[in-house]
């Protein structure tokens, strides 16, 4: 806990870290509190179609007269949930595969690296597109398929760390002492791989948020009646000649979320892993 406070203090010690934290908190409050204080996001009120922002509807209404404050905050919450799930699952699976490849070496390592190379040969959006088109929509499938696209990055990072660790004498000593390999992995590899993986995960969070929004915008992500930032931008875009406000509201929330998450991720990287931070 004191470690968390110290990390936060160091993040706040510079401008970008403070901005990142502020934007992220803003988005989190919007996503967590917004749905509690606003009306039903799916309540249709045809008489109030395309209402501009006002006292009754803080962010106006959409083509069916649904409250956009409610819809955008619920959509933000859903988008963030999906992004966090994708990042967590792909970092865990990627780390495990990477550690195994790094420790095993030989043909296992070569096979894993080859698979990573092949997945990386596809532009991410196109690969996700093809997978979702072939294997279907729906939230669970969506999370799994997008996870596939992001696993190689984490795998490469974990593999590189595991390869370095394997040659270190304290790990060699435990191997000599016939400590069970699983014990060695849990006791030494996981804690040592965790730092860079957490940094990579935090840097990838905004990428995944934007990724989900693009896929949902194109109709390959979140399906109605659920809504995310991407579907809100799409819905607004369809009726953009009547009202530009719905699109802009969701687009701004998306931009603030990705900016905040990136600034926070970079600040976190400078705190946890100062060597990789580069020239500042």
């Amino acid at each position: 806990m004191s470690g968390l406070v110290a990390t936060l203090k160091r993040i706040c010690s510079e401008r970008d870290g403070r901005l990142g934290l502020a934007f992220t908190c803003l988005i989190l409050v919007f996503a967590l509190v917004g749905p509690l204080v606003s009306p039903d996001p799916n309540a249709i009120d045809i008489k109030a179609r395309f209402a501009p922002p006002g006292v009754m509807h803080l962010l106006g209404t959409d083509n069916l007269g649904r409250d956009l404050m409610a819809r955008t905050s619920v959509g933000t919450r859903y988008a963030l949930t999906l992004a966090v799930m994708i990042v967590v699952i792909s970092s865990v699976i990627g780390s495990l595969i990477g550690i195994v490849a790094g420790i095993a070496g030989g043909w296992v390592d070569r096979a894993v690296t080859a698979v990573f190379d092949i997945v990386n040969a596809f532009p991410p959006l196109i690969l996700a597109f093809a997978l979702i088109a072939l294997y279907g929509k729906g939230s669970a499938t969506f999370v799994l398929l997008v996870t596939v696209v992001f696993i190689p990055q984490f795998g490469r990072m974990a593999r590189a760390r595991a390869q370095t660790l394997r040659t270190l004498s304290f790990i060699e000593a435990e191997r000599m002492l016939a400590v069970h390999p699983v014990t060695i992995v849990v006791r030494h590899y996981l804690p040592n791989v965790a730092g860079p993986i957490i940094v990579l995960a935090s840097m990838n969070l905004p990428v995944v948020i934007a990724f989900e929004a693009s896929l949902s915008f194109l109709g390959f992500g979140v399906q109605p009646p659920k809504s995310s930032l991407g579907t809100l931008i799409k819905d607004g875009f369809i009726s953009i000649n009547q009202s530009w406000w719905p699109t802009v509201a969701a687009a701004l929330v998306l931009a603030i979320a990705t900016l905040g998450a990136t600034l926070l991720g970079e600040a976190l990287r400078r705190v946890i892993d100062p060597k990789s931070a580069g020239v500042r």
């Binding site: 040969a121 532009p123 959006l125 934007a210 693009s214 953009i240 998306l254």
Partner: protein
């Protein structure tokens, strides 16, 4: 080994890995499509499935043969650009893809050029005054450019310049014969696509330039009284551009990938919108052909970039060879 032999060996090993990666990607694509649950002909044809079309697909794709034979058939045809005939328009799929590729390439290359032309000067200006308010302002600007999703940039540009101000056309790629019209249609989409890379390149140039300016040979130049502007313009910038060149391959791939979103918003024809529309019509043979093209382009672009880099900076080839 001499330097040129090392470079040749490096290029040969890269070529071999490129061939392997393309083969692997083709295998993955083949498996992806084949492992879809359900009767394959109905998956491929969707609502259009008639007994005749089913028979045609079965015959065309060799579904009655073994998996290994099918894979060989798919790979050898893909290698020669034979993707079969489209069941919707009855045209060769290759022609359909080739029709739209120039549009996407024009978009991706103009976005990349724009990103370089705008991004490099921003990076240089920031690096000349490190730590100043100008530098930190540009840093925040760059990172905002990087993080704002292409989707958001496209929508906002579309709203302001096409719908609000009516300065630029709303949709399409312009009249085929009219260069000026096509250029006007290219402006908004390429700006939307380029913005993130403007930020990325400027940050990369700034970091690389600061690294170079800290090196000994630059200090020697300073000691000789060479002005800072001459040092940057004549010596340092050239070295600082090496990392920029090395990300251009990834950049082009990323731009082609993101072009889907841009092409949909600006209703341009291109490989992105072709994939999108083909998926909507469940026309998977066309999707497959498009993906083969994109992957091949992505890999070849990275190879070309690696080669340019090996020529620019001999340490790269020596280090690995």
């Amino acid at each position: 080994m001499t330097r040129s032999q090392r470079t040749a060996a490096f290029i040969a090993s890269r070529l071999a890995s490129v061939v392997l990666t393309i083969a692997g990607a083709t295998l993955l694509l083949f498996l992806m499509v084949r492992l879809v649950p359900g009767d394959f002909t109905s998956v491929m044809l969707g609502p259009r499935a008639t007994p005749e079309l089913r028979a045609q697909i079965t015959h065309d794709m060799g579904l009655d043969r073994s998996m290994v034979e099918q894979l060989w058939l798919f790979a050898s045809r893909a290698a020669t650009g034979n993707f079969g005939e489209d069941v919707v328009s009855h045209r060769p799929i290759l022609d359909i893809v080739l029709d739209v590729i120039p549009n996407t390439l024009a978009l991706a290359f103009s976005a990349l050029a724009l990103a370089l032309v705008v991004g490099i000067p921003i990076g240089v200006i920031a690096a000349l005054k490190p730590g100043s308010w100008l530098d930190s302002g540009l840093a925040l600007l760059s990172i905002s450019f990087i993080t704002t999703p292409t989707l958001v940039v496209s929508v906002i540009l579309f709203l302001i310049f096409a719908i609000g101000l009516h300065w630029l056309p709303v949709a399409g790629a312009g009249n085929p014969g009219d260069i000026m019209d096509r250029l006007r249609h290219l402006i908004l989409p390429s700006v939307a696509l380029a913005l993130g890379w403007v930020g990325y390149i400027s940050r990369l140039v700034r970091a690389a330039l600061l690294d170079t300016l800290a090196e000994l040979h630059v200090r020697t130049l300073r000691a000789y009284g060479v002005s800072e502007y001459r040092i940057v313009g004549l010596y340092a910038l050239k070295l600082a551009l090496v990392p920029v060149v090395s990300i251009l391959g990834i950049g082009l791939g990323d731009l082609i990938g993101s072009s889907v979103v841009v092409e949909i918003i600006f209703a341009r024809s291109g490989i992105g919108s072709l994939i999108f529309n083909s998926i909507a019509q469940r026309n998977y043979p066309v999707v497959q052909a498009c993906v083969v093209f994109i992957v091949a382009f992505y890999i070849v672009a990275n190879l070309v970039v690696d080669m340019i880099n090996a020529l620019l900076d001999p340490r790269i080839a020596v280090g690995r060879g």
